[in-house]
């Protein structure tokens, strides 16, 4: 079992590195395509590695000697305080994976719990919000999802729902955002609904939970989530309001450019989050000016086949 877990970690690391290098060398900028590659990096080890276990001859001496690219059996002689070094390394990586998983799973769970608003907090959508939702729906060419509005001073805007995505917003949102910023931010959430991102997000979290011990899966899933957000940013920028409006709304909602910005030291968790949002803004301003490049359709499946072969020949 330890060897199998170790092999899953090894395959995850190889797949993640290959995809990372491919994205850079192929200069792939489209967040949709980048997301597909990250999902490949996560899905291929998860899907293929268990299939490899159905071929026991793969672990035999003959296959290792004649065919394998890498065999961790060479590392067997190395020990640390009587323990096999490969086992210790796998344990350290598993702990790192678990930490990375909890770092995101706990806020995810808290967000889920806090998002369940009591009935008395619900109210009818303000006219400005309804207008913004209609404009955004027309711009994106999609039906406007259901709007759930909470009575709250805090600006809340999030897309929820697995089967039928809906948007949760607050009355405080309309007080903070200008009309064009409101359209842009609602368009961002509608893009999430259009691409069924809540379902994808849940799927990613489920996979992360199943592979909690695999740091490569945790990091790749985070990269995939960033691409999901970037895809929604770009969709809103190109169809409704432009990049400037999306960037202004992002900065206002996160509190980056307002007096509400907390006086925190540069190294707090919140400051890292703000830095990530600012990176998103800069990336959006840069990417919105470029025309979307098309990648040949065969690149992704060919990469999947090539990477699958490499993983088959990599044995823990």
């Amino acid at each position: 079992m330890n060897r199998r877990a170790g092999e899953t970690i090894l395959h995850g690391i190889v797949a993640a590195l290959v995809v990372m290098v491919l994205l850079r060398t192929q200069r792939i900028r489209s967040p949709h395509t980048r997301l597909q590659f990250w999902l490949l990096a996560m899905g291929l080890p998860m899907g293929c590695t268990p299939l490899f276990w159905l071929t026991p001859w793969r672990l035999g001496d003959r296959f290792r000697d004649d065919w394998s690219l890498f065999s961790a059996s060479h590392l067997a002689p190395f020990t640390w305080h009587g323990l096999e070094l490969t086992g210790v390394a796998a344990l350290v990586l598993a702990l790192a994976g678990g930490t990375l998983f909890l770092r995101d799973a706990i806020p995810f769970a808290l967000d889920l719990v806090s998002g369940r608003a009591p009935h008395h907090a619900l109210t009818t959508p303000p006219a400005a919000l309804t207008r913004a939702a209609e404009q955004a729906a027309v711009a994106l060419g999609t039906a406007a999802p259901r709007l759930v509005v909470l009575t709250s001073r805090h600006p809340i805007l999030i897309c929820r729902g697995l089967r039928r995505p809906f948007i949760v917003a607050s009355t405080g949102l309309c007080e903070i955002l200008a009309p064009d910023e409101l359209v842009a931010s609602v368009a961002h959430e509608m893009a999430h609904a259009k691409y069924r991102d809540p379902t994808l997000g849940w799927g990613l979290m489920l996979v992360r939970g199943l592979c909690f011990f695999n740091p490569a899966v945790q990091l790749v899933a985070r990269a995939a989530v960033l691409e999901i957000e970037h895809r929604a940013d770009l969709s809103a920028a190109r169809n409704a309001g432009g990049a400037e409006a999306v960037v202004k709304s992002l900065r206002k909602l996160s509190g980056i450019d307002s007096a509400r910005a907390p006086r925190t030291s540069p190294r707090t968790w919140h400051s890292f989050r703000l830095a990530a949002i600012e990176n998103r803004c800069q990336s959006l301003l840069r990417d919105e000016r470029q025309a979307p490049a098309t990648l040949a359709r065969w690149i992704l499946p060919t990469t999947a086949i090539g990477l699958g072969v490499i993983l088959f020949l990599t044995i823990a």
Partner: protein, 187 residues
């Protein structure tokens, strides 16, 4: 205009294909290099397998060592000292130490032909003679110089279609005594 666009598209496709091939080939090479480096660092080259016990080595190679696998005279197998290979022919190497831990003896056995160099690296020898081990059995005794300058004895003889060898850092008399004991006990 359309021709220029088609030409540019095919150039882009070609570039994408070559880049992808280069990345995948680079990954394969990097893994292979990592395998070679780890083999070099551990001293276990490709094709040689470290065995947890003599019994495991016998299962991997099909060789039967019998009582010899448990030890030879005062010499017992050391932990991590059992190696096996299947190429070019099944062969085993067992590192042994005496009760004082000062002398090191390595036993090699192959089923077919010479003992592979991956198990028994060839060393420069400066003296070789033939010694009798028993009726109709003659062995080749070489004095070899190790990389650290020390002199080891290497005794090798034929056993069926294979070979048996002992590499020893102790006295020649002791080596010949162990070899005779082995020649009588070998299955």
């Amino acid at each position: 205009m359309k021709d220029r666009m088609d030409s540019r598209a095919s150039k882009e496709t070609g570039r994408a294909a070559w880049t992808m091939l280069a990345v995948l080939a680079g990954t394969a090479l990097a893994l292979r290099a990592g395998d070679a480096i780890s083999g070099w660092l551990s001293g276990v080259p490709r094709g040689v397998h470290l065995c947890a016990s003599v019994a495991e080595a016998e299962v991997r190679t099909g060789l039967r060592l019998g009582q010899v696998g448990q030890g030879l005279g005062d010499y017992a197998p050391t932990e991590g000292g059992v190696r096996a290979t299947a190429r070019p022919a099944p062969a085993i190497a067992i590192a042994m130490r005496d009760g004082h831990g000062t002398s090191l003896l390595t036993l090699f056995g192959s089923t077919d032909g010479a003992i592979p160099s991956t198990l028994r690296p060839p060393l420069p020898f400066f003296h070789e003679i033939a010694v009798p081990l028993g009726p109709g059995l003659s062995a080749s005794l070489k004095a070899e110089r190790q990389p650290d300058g020390s002199v080891w004895q290497d005794l090798e003889w034929s056993h069926g279609t294979g070979k048996i060898a002992l590499r020893f850092n102790g006295r020649t008399v002791e080596l010949l005594r162990l070899a005779k004991q082995l020649a009588e006990a070998a299955p």
